[in-house]
Symmetry: C2
């Protein structure tokens, strides 16, 4: 069997072209494909076109899959051997907004290499992992034919919660049918600790609006007797956690499966150092739900967070108003078995119980997706383990990740396939934050792991 030889050739090719792949990635990062900002639609299109032309150069048949929003990019390069396994690569080409711009050391869309890192919005979430896919594909294809069919789906709305993905996948179910899925949109816990994520939290994201008067009131004339929307919003939000860090929405934990002892022991194997956590997060403290480790809190327990607050007068100077309106963006990270519609009802129940009866309030659905757990005992999973051991020289750790990748449960439900989640972004890569970066040695190792995974799948 000539597979080991073609694998070695592919790995050699990847190493020889490392600089070029980095330059290509920088070109890709320069396209500010921010899906949450409507005025970026032309950049979204440019990013999709960039991917199309890259895939075409690699011999892929490509299609733009239109959605109600940003288009998805699809490509396939099928083996002439009809019995070859089919691997679907999933990714997203859209990125988070870059605000607050003043906190970036270099402009977010002018990528710059400093030391071992490449800085830029999307460098690790997830244009870097997409580049690892493309580099691994190019290297593998250059080394000769392989009895493996590759499909690739790259959406443009992941950062806004993939609102059209379910409809798209249902429509294109036959096109997307596959035997295994690779998803690089998860974390590598340390550069030397190969990581397979087997659990993801879901997301339920809302806007809460409260209104206390028809318009802002003079705080001198009415302060002390007329209600203040900003004040009431703060009280409502403060009441959403108790002193043990638990969420107080009625029945919030009813659907939460308790963590099994086996799983808690497995999660405890993931190294945790408070100093390192503080340094990675840049946070000034560690908080959370009593009775759970930090690894469990961020990966395996549900949370409720304020993502934004706006009320009253916020410009420079002073304005003596009682705000009539206040808004909070509130999101919850969900664990398996929690459902977004039940969580929304729990939030509404909380507000019915806690809000003064005269308060006008409204909860607006923004985005969301369920949590996911994948099996750890499939052939594809074993291929992934071998690929990571080969690339990193170490046994991978199984982790549950706090973020949400809605596509994983969609693929489970629609195609019946579990995803192999092995990414290359480090916890200190500033995902969704200023100075997002990609660790370039991890890009190289990830590329190598993906090349090995392609070959291990057909062993």
């Amino acid at each position: 069997m000539n597979l080991p030889m073609s694998m070695d050739q592919a790995l050699t090719y990847a190493r020889a072209n490392r600089e070029r792949f980095i330059n290509d990635l920088m070109e890709f990062i320069r396209i500010p494909s921010i899906s949450t900002q409507i005025q970026r639609a032309p950049d979204i299109q440019r990013a999709a076109d960039w991917l199309l032309s890259r895939l075409e150069r690699l011999g892929f048949q490509t299609r733009i899959l239109p959605t109600g929003g940003s288009p998805a990019v699809y490509g396939q390069r099928l083996s002439s051997d009809a019995s070859a396994p089919v691997l679907l690569l999933y990714g997203h080409y859209d990125v988070q907004p870059a605000e607050p711009l003043e906190e970036w050391s270099t402009p977010p869309f002018e990528p710059e290499v400093r030391g071992e890192n490449l800085f830029g919005r999307g460098a690790s979430d997830m244009k870097g992992p997409l580049m690892a896919y493309l580099a691994a594909l190019e290297s593998t294809i250059a080394a000769g034919p392989l009895p493996l069919s590759i499909k690739i789906l790259i959406e443009g709305e992941e950062e806004v919660g993939s609102p059209h993905l379910e409809a798209l996948m249902a429509r294109e179910k036959e096109l997307l049918r596959c035997d295994a899925v690779l998803n690089g949109d998860t974390l590598l816990l340390r550069p030397d600790l190969p990581t397979i994520v087997y659990g993801l939290r879901g997301l339920a994201y809302y806007e809460l609006h409260v209104e206390t008067a028809a318009h802002d009131l003079h705080s001198g004339l009415f302060g002390g007797a007329s209600p203040n929307a900003g004040q009431i919003l703060c009280e409502l939000i403060a009441g959403m956690h108790d002193s043990q860090g638990r969420v107080t929405l009625p029945h919030f934990y009813d659907d939460v499966e308790p963590l099994a002892g086996e799983e808690r022991r497995e999660l405890a194997r993931i190294p945790f150092d408070p100093k390192e956590f503080l340094s990675q997060s840049t946070g000034l403290g560690i908080i959370g739900e009593e009775g759970y480790t930090v690894t469990e809190r961020v990966g395996a327990r549900p949370t409720l967070e304020v993502n934004g607050l706006l009320s009253g007068f916020t410009e420079t100077g002073s304005k003596t108003v009682l705000p009539a309106r206040a808004m909070a963006k509130i999101s919850m990270r969900l664990v398996p078995n929690q459902k977004a519609d039940r969580v929304k009802a729990q939030l509404a129940n909380y507000l019915q119980q806690k809000a003064p009866p005269w308060l006008k309030w409204e909860v607006i659905d923004l985005t969301g997706g369920p949590a996911a757990i994948v099996r750890r005992d499939t052939p594809a999973m074993r291929a992934a383990i071998r690929a990571l051991e080969g690339a990193f020289g170490a046994k991978p750790v199984f982790a549950r990740e706090g973020g949400s990748v809605p596509v994983v449960s969609l693929i489970q439900n629609l195609l019946g396939t579990d995803s192999i989640m092995m990414g290359i972004s480090l916890p200190d890569d500033n995902l969704h934050a200023p100075n997002e970066k990609l660790h370039l040695p991890s890009l190289a190792r990830g590329t190598e792991a993906y090349i090995r995974f392609f070959h291990e799948l057909i062993r």
Copy 2:
């Protein structure tokens, strides 16, 4: 004595010129003299120039009194009789910002008469009362000489807390020396209820900043274990009141003089109707400190209010961040004997006690001024009572007002003179809010009351 005759002539003149005075006021409102917005400095200057030319036409000697910020306008028209009493009129020509603009029915700086009301930013606070001064002066002067010397001081920074007024008044103490002061920057409680305000709350206005991390964090990766600045700000603010509506800052009430029984009985004479209050305020409820009437809560008790909130992502759509920073504008209305520096220390003590030890927080002073109480038994006060009885045909009510007019205590301290506070703005005039308006019949009655006051002072 020919005074009644000249007074009747002046009142006749005022009635005959009513429409012209309204047109002049509309011209004045069209100048967007917003003191809190630095880019409005040219409009501030235009408003000052407009007043200067009006006063010069009335035969006043005028001067611009420079300050570190917006200039003050000064004018005097002294009687040839050196023993004539000196009346100082105080006012301000600056206005509040007009935001939120979308809530105005007509543009804030394009005044429009609808029914009995004139709509526009500054219509009642306080370009309307300034117009009542100017109309009363013009009418009185037209009716012939009066043994009364008039001085007028119109500042341009009242809406930002009069930061330069104390230094200015200390410097110009001799110029401003007077026997009585008229201040029209207070409320008329009802169109048919002539009102003299004898107490004003002070103001202490701060910005509170909290910081929990170097930058915003990914809510999936860190949510549940890393702190959230928006959440913590809400908890801190929620804790600033107890369930009885009392402010919880340590020792906050120590300096507050208890309300005497006589005063509570006098305040209880002010009519209060919850329905009317809700309609005037447009508020959806009535809240406040237990054990006090609404009249006491808004006039005679200290308060703490959130005037603005800002944290995290507040644009359209969703961004899954844990905010690293959060800001609140927080102001307190003070009653006599409370001091801004002590209140600031109480706020800092509260934060020291309640904030997690690792939290970075800062309290920035924005503006403030002490509360004031004036005597109700002076000759000038008796002249005011007679003037209001004459103009309204009803006995005036004595009220304490919740707003702050820092100049009243400054004049008390620097010149030793109590102010007569009788304004023409109604509680439903939307002061500091969208759709600010002036009740035009009250402008006419106020003009009449001021004409009568000029004459009553020399009786």
